[in-house]
Chain length 212, copies 2
DNA sequence: ACCTGAACACCGTTCAAGT
DNA sequence: ACCTGAACACCGTTCAAGT
């Protein structure tokens, strides 16, 4: 019988928010989202469960910090794309890849509730789109759609029964890319329509901060 | 002081899977996903918690049954659309509306794991698309993309902090519709390309900035 | 400042026992 | 067949008390 019920008390180095989130991802990958409890996380860190409450308000905040990770990773991972369309596509792929690295990551993001002011993150991530020629409202809307699509897709991709069933009927990576491509292509067409109405003077403003 | 901690034992009529799922939705709408426990569900039904296990294997199965509801509702709600494109759009809207009726519905779907053979549901829902002229592989892929997008969108729409933040920057319903429209439009373009191979339609990349 | 021990109010689930 | 009572092994969270 495999008696692997106990995890070794990792490190007795220090205990701060960063190491806690790290260990939480380790536990997540080992036990899955259902197995991620503050108690096993604490023993994984060689500490008692209430100790975590000194660094973290509660479990919800911890989940929120974990979820925020993916957004940051994906935001950094779209380096040299110039048009807002290619940026959107790159962001979607980067976000999916980031989530696929950890078991149950999409479900975790779906559970998580953004505790930090989301305005900061949203604007930071929409900024390059605006710099690439989009107005702010559209940038936010398109960005939200790409994030929603990616999150929803990976939820199903990481659901084992769904994965098994879908994977034998179609290539998941290719289907994801197809949907993402289609959506952004539709955005491009939409923008092209509305800007040709009044002689597109909108595009090609380099680094416009667009202050109101 | 609101002392509403106890729910009235609803009906002592009968106890079968249908009434259990009904009551589960009632509890969900009152207490939210975190408050949905088998114990409060049982008291809501005027019964003890272990009684539920006669009709339902476990909580996961119950969640699965609840999630399956939305797919069925949405599948019935796209009546008279003729093209597969309009069917896809109608399905997305119907699915969103069905989920918006219940608190935390999208998160519930993200948590749920399809216990019934998903082939049945998937094919039943993709069938009209195939009948409307799509090949099966594309029908499944497009359908999956629409479902993923809708699920992900409503996850954020039903997240209270996200809702508050996004709602003041953009019209959520309109932005959802925009993304859905864009995606399906992209699908249509893709199909048009591959079917008219020797027609000289060379739009491989989405020409982000339409010239002029 | 940072962590432990002990406790509280909950969970999901099992199972013998009732009817 | 259908449900109860009691129990098991867990939860998240609080809080006095230790260092």
């Amino acid at each position: 019988m495999s008696g692997a019920r106990k995890l070794p008390p990792r490190e007795t180095a220090k205990l701060d928010r960063t190491t806690i989130v790290e260990a939480a991802f380790a536990v997540l990958s080992e036990k899955g989202l259902d197995g991620l409890s503050l108690r096993v996380l604490a023993t994984h860190l060689g500490v008692q469960a209430p100790a975590l409450y000194w660094h973290v308000r509660n479990k919800a905040e911890l989940i929120g910090m974990m979820a925020a990770t993916f957004g940051e990773v994906a935001a950094r991972a779209e380096p040299g794309e110039k048009t807002w369309a290619s940026r959107l596509i790159a962001y979607g792929h980067a976000l999916r890849q980031a989530m696929l690295l950890h078991r149950d990551a999409a479900r975790l993001c779906a559970i998580a509730r953004p505790i930090e002011p989301p305005a900061e993150n949203a604007n930071r991530v929409a900024a390059p789109l605006i710099a690439a020629g989009l107005d702010q409202k559209r940038a936010l809307s398109y960005q939200a759609s790409v994030i929603a699509y990616t999150l929803g897709w990976v939820v199903y991709e990481q659901s084992q029964p769904m994965h098994e069933h879908l994977a034998q009927m179609l290539d998941l990576a290719e289907s994801f890319a197809s949907g993402l491509r289609a959506m952004v292509r539709g955005f491009v067409a939409e923008v092209a329509e509305t800007t040709t109405k009044h002689r597109g003077q909108q595009r090609q403003r380099p680094q416009a901060k667009s202050r109101d």
